[in-house]
């Protein structure tokens, strides 16, 4: 859409929303939120940007096909899930670092898992919306 107003607003919204998305992701273990909603917000940020500036521009920002985020996220989640297997533990057994990390709190495999979820959700949402917008 060719509107200066929207275009301008969207370029400021993008970093803000991404920040918010990561915020939601990281605090999910303590308060409502988490990888899924966080990922959705991040995706929405890009979608809004693409509505305003066209998909090509948004693609330029992401630098690769968003679908590629899916295997990356899946791989991350998978690694987090099966890491315990290498030490003889059951699938998805929580592995935790000894001490809490500042800001984030306790860091463990669950966090990496959630980040995997986050990436997958971003990849999925963007793939779907971009594909359909392109073929309209």
């Amino acid at each position: 859409m060719k509107t200066i107003i929207f275009k301008t607003a969207s370029s400021y919204l993008l970093p803000l929303l991404l920040l918010f998305a990561i915020f939601i992701l990281l605090r999910g273990h303590y308060l409502p939120g988490g990888g899924f909603v966080g990922g959705l917000i991040a995706a929405i940020a890009f979608v809004i940007h693409s509505f305003a500036n066209g998909i090509e521009k948004t693609r330029g920002i992401i630098k690769f096909h968003p679908g590629f985020l899916m295997p990356i996220g899946l791989a991350l989640a998978l690694i987090a899930a099966i890491a315990p297997l290498f030490t003889g533990g059951a699938l998805m057994t929580g592995l935790w670092f000894e001490n809490p990390v500042p800001v984030i709190g306790m860091v463990g495999s669950a966090l990496f898992f959630d980040i995997g979820v986050f990436l997958v959700v971003v990849g999925v949402t963007l793939t779907i919306i971009f594909t359909i917008s392109e073929t309209i």
């Binding site: 859409m1 509107t3 107003i5 607003a9 919204l13």
Partner: protein, 127 residues
């Protein structure tokens, strides 16, 4: 003291929202409805959110409330603009008592280019 300010803020907020609600029903055309609701609702929500900030009296919550308000102030008018513009394109009519329509004929129907030309006075006429 806090309680009273919360009560006042939330009442005002609710009333503004109520006004917006009545407005959206009562206003005779789409543009007026957009016009009414954007501000009434934004203001009303802002007030209620501030009431909440007062209530919790916590820095992180206050800052979050401010972030929401900021965000709404940023997006509400943009949304209104987009919807208004798109509606005009699709030929949503203005209220019969409307006085001017400077936008008439300025959109190129195919390319959606909006020109800035001022039309001759004889063309400019009441709707």
């Amino acid at each position: 003291m806090t309680e009273i300010s919360i009560a006042i803020l939330s009442t005002l907020g609710a009333v503004f929202i109520f006004l917006a609600a009545v407005g959206v029903v009562r206003m005779p055309d789409l543009y007026l409805r957009i016009s009414v609701t954007t501000k009434a609702a934004t203001l009303g929500i802002g007030l209620i959110l501030i009431a909440a900030a007062f209530y919790f009296n916590d820095l992180s919550i206050t800052s979050r409330v401010l972030a929401i308000i900021l965000f709404m102030l940023l997006t509400a008018p943009v949304g209104a603009h987009m919807l208004g513009r798109a509606s005009y394109f699709t030929g949503v009519k203005m209220w019969k008592n409307s006085e001017y329509d400077d936008l008439k004929g300025k959109y190129h129907p195919k390319t959606h280019v909006l020109s800035s030309e001022e039309e001759p006075d004889d063309v400019k006429k009441k709707v």
